[in-house]
């Protein structure tokens, strides 16, 4: 296969001499060489789309009616047990903080995802930005030539930028590990050069007639940045064919496994936020079987990701968050499924100074009658997000005036020391 990098370098050299206004010089790439705390911080979100069952994963209740067929196994963290469906992650729990007491009011996929992704209850008149969008905006990365916020295998069509604007929407990659759509010109370099020259001629005519207004549109700037991205050597971060076959096997030869490997490469390159989606958790029917299938994909990918990040000395600067829009009911329905359950659910956080080998919160084994009570030691999504922002050096209490004139904080809660190593 012809090397994309060689092509791009060649094209850059040729176009660089043409004086085209759409071209910018390639900026130095230093982020990838730094390690430990001395590198830009990033977040990887593993999004369990559809509503992951806490009982089949992070919060098993074996031997109870609600627990179903799932057994609990010991893990590398003392006194922490998780589902037997996650043997790989059982060996990594010493790196993780397990929170079993998240809670929400939203039992609908769209609204639940909106709440968990933004930390704010959805409102009809104001779209909130996702956590990733806030981070990408607040932590600009001058050396980055590819987008700072990337979704791999996304399933949620809602734009991420909310009131921050479209420019903070995530860049979407539908088949991670494969060639990214629309990043390569459909014509050879020389012809692309001619096309860009033609575009320059037409663009100049439009700008000549309305110089200031055209400048304010930033349209030409967008084109320049897109061309720059097409030429960037950082695009190599989207490829995994130069990764050892054994490592690819270890992540799993699935979209999610490839996504996790690409996520590692992207954060190494300096991308601020990567979200990898694993769809298929909406198990209203045959929940246990469904989670066997899901965990076979999740377990190798997530456990290898954590090992890989640790081996590369990236776990101090990269936070990994595995989360879902809600949990699933303690009651098993007549179709052997579990339905939506925002009453309590779990997430796992690793890296970035979060506590290691610990569990926070607990849920009752009994199936509640009527309105579910709050779980023991409840922890809110806004609290988790404020803490993530704080660990990334962002003040979540900072207010921003939204387009409708309302001042809103990036996080509606304060950071929590109990989630951090320094606070334990």
């Amino acid at each position: 296969m012809e090397s994309l990098m060689t092509d791009r370098r060649g094209m850059l050299q040729r176009l660089g001499t043409s004086g085209l206004s759409f071209l910018l010089p390639c900026m130095p790439q230093a982020a990838a060489n730094r390690r430990g705390n001395d590198r830009p911080a990033s977040l990887i979100v593993l999004w369990m789309n559809g509503g992951m069952s806490q009982l089949e994963t992070w919060d098993p209740h074996p031997g109870t009616v609600s627990g179903g067929l799932t057994k609990a196994i010991a893990t590398s963290a003392p006194d922490v047990q998780i589902s037997h469906l996650l043997p790989g992650m059982a060996q990594q729990m010493h790196e993780c903080l397990l929170i079993r007491s998240l809670h929400s009011k939203e039992g609908d996929h769209e609204k639940g995802a909106a709440f968990v992704r933004t930390g704010y209850n959805p409102e009809p008149t104001l779209a909130y930005p996702t956590l990733g969008s806030v981070i990408a905006r607040q932590l600009p990365q001058a050396t980055l030539q590819i987008p700072p916020y990337i979704l791999l295998n996304p399933r949620i069509p809602v734009p991420e930028g909310g009131y921050l604007g479209n420019e903070w929407n995530a860049f979407r990659v539908f088949r991670p590990g494969e060639q990214v759509a629309n990043l390569t010109a459909t014509v050879p370099d020389e012809r692309l050069q001619r096309r860009l020259q033609g575009l320059d001629v037409v663009g100049q005519e439009f700008a000549r007639r309305r110089p200031l207004a055209e400048q304010l549109t930033l349209q030409q700037d967008l084109t320049r940045r897109a061309v720059q991205m097409m030429q960037s050597e950082q695009l190599a971060a989207f490829r995994i064919d130069d990764e050892p076959a054994t490592l690819q096997d270890s992540y799993g030869r699935t979209d999610f496994g490839r996504g996790c490997l690409v996520a590692r490469r992207l954060v190494e390159t300096g991308v601020r936020v990567v979200e990898v989606t694993l769809p298929g958790f909406d198990t209203h029917i045959s929940n246990h079987e469904g989670h066997i299938t899901q965990c076979r994909i999740l377990d190798p990918a997530m456990s290898t990701l954590l090992q890989d990040l640790r081996q590369r000395d990236l776990l101090q600067s990269v936070i990994v968050l595995c989360i879902s829009e809600f949990g699933r009911t303690p009651r098993i329905n007549p179709a052997d499924g579990r339905d939506h359950w925002p009453g309590w659910f779990s997430c796992v956080v690793a890296g970035g100074g979060f506590r290691r080998g610990a569990v926070l919160g607990a849920t009752p084994a009994e199936i509640p009658v009527g309105n579910p009570p709050l779980p023991q030691d409840p922890i809110s999504i806004p609290e988790v997000y404020a803490t993530i922002l704080s660990q990334l050096g962002i003040d979540g209490s900072q207010e921003i005036i939204t387009p409708v004139g309302r001042p809103i904080r990036f996080a509606s809660a304060a950071p929590s020391l109990r989630l951090l190593q320094s606070g334990s």
Partner: protein
């Protein structure tokens, strides 16, 4: 391989018929639309609106820019009513029509075109039900959209449509207005009255009071929490069953149906009861009728200025891309004593002429602000913003996603893609639109809010398959036809510019592309279309 033959034959047939149909329609020129009957002319109202703006410019000390040329205005109208640039065939016919009142006559014709019904229904549906998926089976966005298209094409009264939506009864399939109610059904199978109250006030009265669900409106003293609760109570009888949307009979029910508000975590019986109420002018409420029909009558009451101002503001936004008052659904309280503003002028004409959307559309399109150029030599940002604020220059507005793909699809063809196009082409357009918007990003419910562009969008336009398909020089494509039918290279360039940008090339552009056409002509034409598709001018209303 016999199966292949059986499959291929119908496909080949469709293709051939597409060719024949396309070729046949070359000979059918578009006739000039007839004169607008005297009773429908809007001259006096347009004059009043223009006088209002002239006075406003004088008071603000801003100088309006020159008039735009009529082709540019034609492009604006086509983008607003069809969601795409005009076809080359339409441009030529428009230019050949030398009778008076050309623009108004063409707008009247466009308002009867199926493209207008479909495109405008989409816009209205967004304001009525947002873009969420809605409850499975019982929410049929397609039915609602089809109904709205029928209504706008029939030039129905917006007040009547509003009453049909608020008071709808019946199945979501054969009474499509009922989908305004069914989208509010929650997982527990009850109707979310608060959602309907918020939507009603936003869509029909142009006010965001959703926050008053929990507390008094922080900025507008007119809206307090009890107002919101009282409005929500009008929907308490609505229910969705197998028979569709119905109202519980308040008098015959074993227990009276009341609107009860329960604090979170408390037992539903412990809540307080709220009676239906309106925040102002209760005398507009009819004494009898179902709760929803009484609310609908109050919302659309001839004296309820908020109703006409809200739709006038939305239509202005849909025509220009930016509403007169931003955001589109958060209008200030209309003061009785104040001199009529542009929304009042538009609204009163709308009321006087049967509350028809077509009146607002024509009035706006014929007004001076709509016909001003977007070319301003202003070098100072603040002064330019002032010009824009007072509509003394046509604003540059980023096209919405459906306008970009609509234009990309149309600009790749010489003839209109409309109800007379071959089913294959229409199907191709529909799927292209859906796929493109998925990749480009949907503007969402608040589509009139300013939207910034993204790298994803630029990459999609530069390297995506939609661009590649529209610029390809092959059997049925517009670029191929331009090459074949234009007598010389200068005309090739002129036609390409008209198809994509609805204007002729400037001298520098003509000179540059003439040079390019001296070599591989097919490639040069494709490259020309690529440059035009990717130009800022293509993606902005101007």
């Amino acid at each position: 391989m016999r199966w292949l033959t059986w499959i291929s034959l119908p496909v080949l047939g469709l293709l051939l018929s597409a060719v024949v149909q396309t070729a046949g329609s070359v000979e059918t020129p578009l006739s000039a639309p007839p004169a607008v009957p005297a009773s429908q002319r809007l001259d006096a109202a347009v004059e009043r609106l223009n006088q209002y703006f002239q006075q406003r410019w004088q008071q603000a000390g801003v100088q309006p820019v020159a008039q735009a040329d009529e082709l540019t205005v034609f492009r604006r109208v086509s983008l607003a009513l069809f969601g795409c640039v005009p076809a080359l065939a339409e441009i030529k016919a428009f230019e050949q029509d030398l009778q008076p009142d050309r623009l108004d006559r063409w707008i009247v014709r466009m308002l009867q075109d199926e493209r207008f019904g479909r495109y405008f229904a989409d816009r209205l549906a967004r304001s009525l039900t947002g873009v969420e998926q809605g409850p499975l089976f019982i929410f049929r966005r397609d039915r609602l959209r089809d109904w709205l298209a029928e209504q706008v094409l029939a030039d129905a009264s917006w007040a009547r449509m509003t009453r049909d939506l608020i008071a709808a009864e019946g199945l979501w399939t054969d009474q499509p207005a009922a989908n305004f109610i069914t989208i509010a059904r929650m997982e527990n199978e009850e109707i979310d009255e608060t959602k309907l109250a918020g939507r009603t006030v936003r869509a029909f009265l142009g006010q965001r009071i959703d926050c008053a669900q929990c507390h008094d409106h922080p900025f507008d003293p007119q809206w307090k929490q009890p107002h919101f609760e009282g409005l929500a109570a009008w929907y308490c009888q609505a229910t969705v069953s197998l028979a569709g949307v119905t109202d519980f009979d308040r008098d015959k029910a074993e227990q009276p149906v009341v609107y009860r508000i329960t604090e979170p975590g408390r037992d539903s019986e412990s809540g307080r009861t709220v009676d239906p109420a309106v925040p102002f002018n209760a005398e507009w409420l009819p004494a009898t009728g179902s709760l929803r029909s009484r609310l609908a009558a109050w919302v659309t009451h001839p004296k309820n200025r908020r109703f006409e101002r809200a739709i006038a503001n939305r239509i202005w936004g849909l025509m220009i891309g930016r509403p007169l008052q931003d955001p589109v659904d958060d209008l200030p309280h209309p003061e009785d004593s104040a001199a009529p503003d542009a929304l009042d002028l538009l609204g009163s004409e709308f009321r006087n002429r049967g509350e028809r959307l077509s009146v607002l559309i024509r009035l706006i399109a014929l007004s001076q602000p709509f016909n001003l150029s977007s070319e301003s030599s202003e070098q100072d940002v603040l002064l330019l913003k002032q010009q824009q604020q007072h509509w003394a220059v046509f604003p540059l507005v980023r096209l919405r996603p459906e306008q970009v793909i609509g234009s990309l699809f149309q600009a790749g063809r010489v003839r209109m893609v409309d109800q007379n196009s071959h089913p294959l082409i229409r199907f191709q357009k529909l799927t292209s639109e859906n796929d493109f918007i998925q990749e480009y990003g949907d503007a969402g419910e608040d589509e009139l809010n300013p939207q910034s562009g993204t790298i994803t969008q630029s990459l999609l336009k530069m390297n995506g398959r939609f661009t590649a398909e529209s610029l390809k020089v092959d059997l049925l494509s517009g670029p191929a036809e331009v090459l074949q039918l234009s007598p010389d290279d200068a005309t090739v360039i002129e036609n390409s510019f008209l198809m994509c940008l609805t204007r002729r090339p400037a001298a520098a552009e003509q000179q540059y592309f003439l040079e390019q056409l001296k070599n591989n002509r097919s490639q040069a034409v494709e490259d020309l279309f690529w440059a035009l598709f990717n130009s800022p001018e293509f993606s902005w209303n101007h």
